[in-house]
Symmetry: D2
Subunit: 339 residues, 4 copies
């Protein structure tokens, strides 16, 4: 089979670097073009990137020269993957799509458009079917926190609950490499992240939405979110409390979470974890320092049901499950679904 | 007036050092004895303490020789203040009290005994009156997190609420100087603190309890707590969510919190802040790095009332409001109340 | 006596904030104007500063409206103190001086000009005398690392040494509040600081220079410097090794360092520490976390003389001894010296 | 070929975990026994270890039951690898050797014994030949800092130098998982590490020593070391200054360092890096956060020769090049050398 050829927008950022790492040895996706902001065009990747991923830049990308984000420079690939920051993303991605180029993007603009799928693969890969028959495919991935926190909800939203209360403690890498000065966040908690508390319920609502006439209608979810920035580098952790009237069988719930594996019928999903949700029984898990290495898994712990309150702690790697990993898994799925 | 003479148990620990700092220049409390574990008896304070408070050891305590925690060594003071760790505290404090020595203690044993006041001064100084007429006075201060989180509840418990959901993000100093190895908590969140989640509701219940026949009956409070350890040194922050049926006037609530000042009728409360609760309007406050310096204040921010959910962020200095400061303020109050 | 009226350039930065703190209650220097970059002019200080110093903004500056850095806006003060960043400083300070306004500045431009004193007060206050009779006074303070590391050299440069080798481990605040992203320096050492390794020997040479015909000629100092950035917030630490042919009496040296107190003949030096150099005998001192609180002292430890190598560890507060504190002490000295 | 069977002493510590990781898929070394302190004997590895390496415990070791460190429990393996702490190591290792069991150890006791090779493979694998013909083989690996800093000296000790001055900035993992409380070292530098400054020159001297009559005589090396603890988790960095009378050709030196590859004649050295020394040309490298991933390489940067002073920055992974990696590479070499 011919490899799927992709170009990568925003190749020098943290998410871009993670994509390069995940694609370096991919069996059937070939990263053939790297693009970045105008000032970098024409430069070798190794000369212009500030590489921070562990290990060296994969050999084949070291000397690749950066191209622009224009349709002209990206027209001969099968897909453009976008790791652009939001302001840059909006005009660039739209222009590509209008020029008939397929785009899968991590950036926030258009995430809530009803006719653009917002894919967190295990949750709503079926939403990709609204693209069937379309000449140009435009797909979005959710915000890092939404992608992680949405996962265990798959087994919770069926309960007759009153409200979900979520406190998300988010890693600094979520703000980008230069997002937070050391002096502002070391030994500190900043109890506010601009825009975050609105995005999370809205995006989760859409992920769990239903398709009607090619459009996605969000599910009604009652959720209060408080997002704070904590001094850790990688891993967004959430504490979820959920008022549930009827009794919850915790053992059953744990089994259901551990067994959740909706993609197992597919072959060739190189980035799909065998168990997308991993439940920990140890009281002091999950922890960022231990459980964010296998990036696509979402880790859950401290599950209890007391006095009608279901509580759990949720943790995921914001750069992998929250960004680069789901973009690539989305493309793998599109290939396997023959979209 | 003669100064109140006190001895300090656990003088070399973090809370002990903070007490020494707060008492160094106290106008009417004189710290005359320092005691610590057996291995330190007879040594000069400056030779055996690992001093970590900013600035040097106050001159008058440098050469003070440590005594034991026995009644014999502490009988000629007016009060013994205890900053002992819980295991050490239980037998020592009880023995002192049985020998007729007054004790005000930070340690957890007996905090929930109905005939021992658990004092967070602004909240329940009236509970001290159950000591009236007693020959020996034994008073407890609450756990650091309970002391801080209880404060704004003074204006919240009157609402017709369904449940309080609290996520407490607690500083490393709360576990003691050597409580957590760097390798275990740097760049990490540990979503569990042994014993903490039970203590907080129980102690807050008692603080807001009512006195009957010399005993304190806890108030019925419906509260779910999740406590996590975060990599900050000082300052426990809580995110509180509270389901409230009837509308809440946020402006009114802010005013009530800022104006809360129940001790203003007293003179000579050297450690009582003019405003025990400080409400911040900036979206990104309170922050550990900025707001834990004036230690006795409890800082509140991000107050909102949306879809019947009242949310706020609460922050306090766990070593001052959560420990050393309230011990001393309790003694100041006992003096002013002529107990 | 009338107070000395000063304005402060760069009032919102870290050094500016430290100056405000040090001047808030100064007995004879009155800070009457705050200035900052154009976008802030006309705003109240409390509305435009991101205050990070412990405690609140001193009351009297909260509502002070920022003025520009122009001569017009700063002409009616006795001195302008400058905490501007280097690029901004060069044209602004020169313009003020050309308009007859006295300037004492922390910024790097002109630090090496032979007719402008570069003052580290205890080391070379006598250099201020070259200003005698001048209508307008323009004084520079050294770079933060130079100011700290220069101090113990006062007792070392007299030895018959071959070379001074200095490794400086510098705190993040030295790069300014936003100088380093958390992701770049947390859990990391960056073994390079642009421009630093040249500045330190050059500035120390000038501080120890001699005056001839109103000009300062640098002392010949043989010094190799390696500067690295380490993940601490405050405090620059240096490890100094010095090849000395003739025997060094370490006890004598320690005594000389501890007794160094060249300003004791002056009165009214509010920011002059009694002991500008403090020698620690404990093997594990000085430490940033313990010894940078009393900001003007330079702390020295681990002094040894082995196999003709003199070694010591040097530590100082880069924002106080390295910046704000010496600016103010310089002004105090100029007043006492009637310059 | 039959696999070499090894047991591992100290299997639950940080170095032990790293060894398990490196041996999990080794082509010809089979880890068949894990041992630890008495309290853990008989327990499953996964139940008693606090696993902190990235990723999960390799499957085959999860249920392995821990045995004691006694000769009886370790007699049927080809080699015992020891990652014990020093106090525990001394009696245990000696007893094993006396009972005819081969031991390769990371622990400090006996490192300086003249008849026990102290192996940093690329530097002095030839020292292993003194074991030829011995019934029982007892080999030591150097201290983590010695192992790293010794590497570039292979191309420096030939110069006519006057003195090597080394400042080592050492990571917290070097003190073991629980070696340093967070409160003691976060945001701090501790300018002292017990015993370290003596070990480094002594061990490097022995590594570069010559063999005579089956004994190793240390090379005369003039070296002054200052070791400080810095708040980073992994990676010991050194700044080396070396007074060299005759001119040094820096370009030539860089080439020599990069080309150093003394083990290339061997096959089957699974843990030998192609380039044991990697020279960086970028001014801001090497960095802990970027360059400690490929654990066996020693990274060198900032090489300059100015005014007769050769300066370089040296960095290595203290758990791999400094411990677990060289133990395994030593065993690989012994196998290939047919010792």
């Amino acid at each position: 089979m011919d490899k799927i050829k992709v170009s990568l927008l925003g190749a020098t950022g943290m998410v871009g670097q993670k994509m390069i790492k995940l694609l370096a040895d991919h069996p059937y996706i070939e990263l053939v073009k790297l693009s970045a902001s105008d000032s970098r065009i024409g430069k070798k990747y190794s000369e212009t990137v500030k590489w921070i991923e562990n290990g060296s830049i994969p050999e084949k990308f070291r000397d690749m020269k950066l191209v622009s984000t224009s349709p002209e420079d990206n027209k001969d690939v099968d897909y453009v993957l976008s790791a652009l920051p939001p302001e840059a993303a909006e005009p660039v991605e739209l222009k590509l799509v209008k020029n008939g180029i397929n785009v899968i993007s991590n950036a926030s603009p258009y995430r809530l458009s009803k006719d653009i799928p917002l894919i967190n693969p295990e949750i709503n890969f079926e939403h990709l079917r609204i693209l069937e028959g379309k000449d140009t495919k435009f797909v979005k991935n959710p915000n890092c926190t939404s992608a992680i926190m949405a996962m265990p909800l798959v087994k919770l939203l069926g309960f007759d609950y009153d409200r979900i209360s979520l406190v998300s403690m988010q890693a600094i890498s979520g703000a980008g490499f230069s997002g937070l000065p050391y002096m502002s966040i070391d030994d500190n908690i900043i109890p506010y992240i601009h825009g975050e508390e609105e995005k999370i319920p809205a995006e989760i609502s859409k992920m769990y939405g239903t398709v009607q006439d090619g459009k996605i209608n969000g599910k009604n979810i009652r959720m209060s979110v408080t997002s704070v920035r904590v001094p850790v580098k990688v891993g967004h952790m959430g504490v979820l409390n959920m008022e549930i009237k009827k009794g919850v069988d915790v053992e059953e719930l744990i089994k259901n979470l551990n067994n959740f594996s909706p993609l197992k019928g597919f072959n060739g999903l190189y980035n799909a974890p065998a168990h997308p949700i991993v439940v920990h029984n140890e009281a002091d898990r999950p922890q960022n320092a231990i459980d964010t290495y296998n990036g696509m898994e979402v880790h859950v712990g401290r599950i209890s049901y007391t006095d009608r309150n279901l509580r759990m702690v949720i943790l995921g790697n914001n750069l992998v499950r929250g960004a680069a990993g789901i973009t690539i898994l989305t493309l793998e799925l599109m290939e396997q679904m023959k979209l």
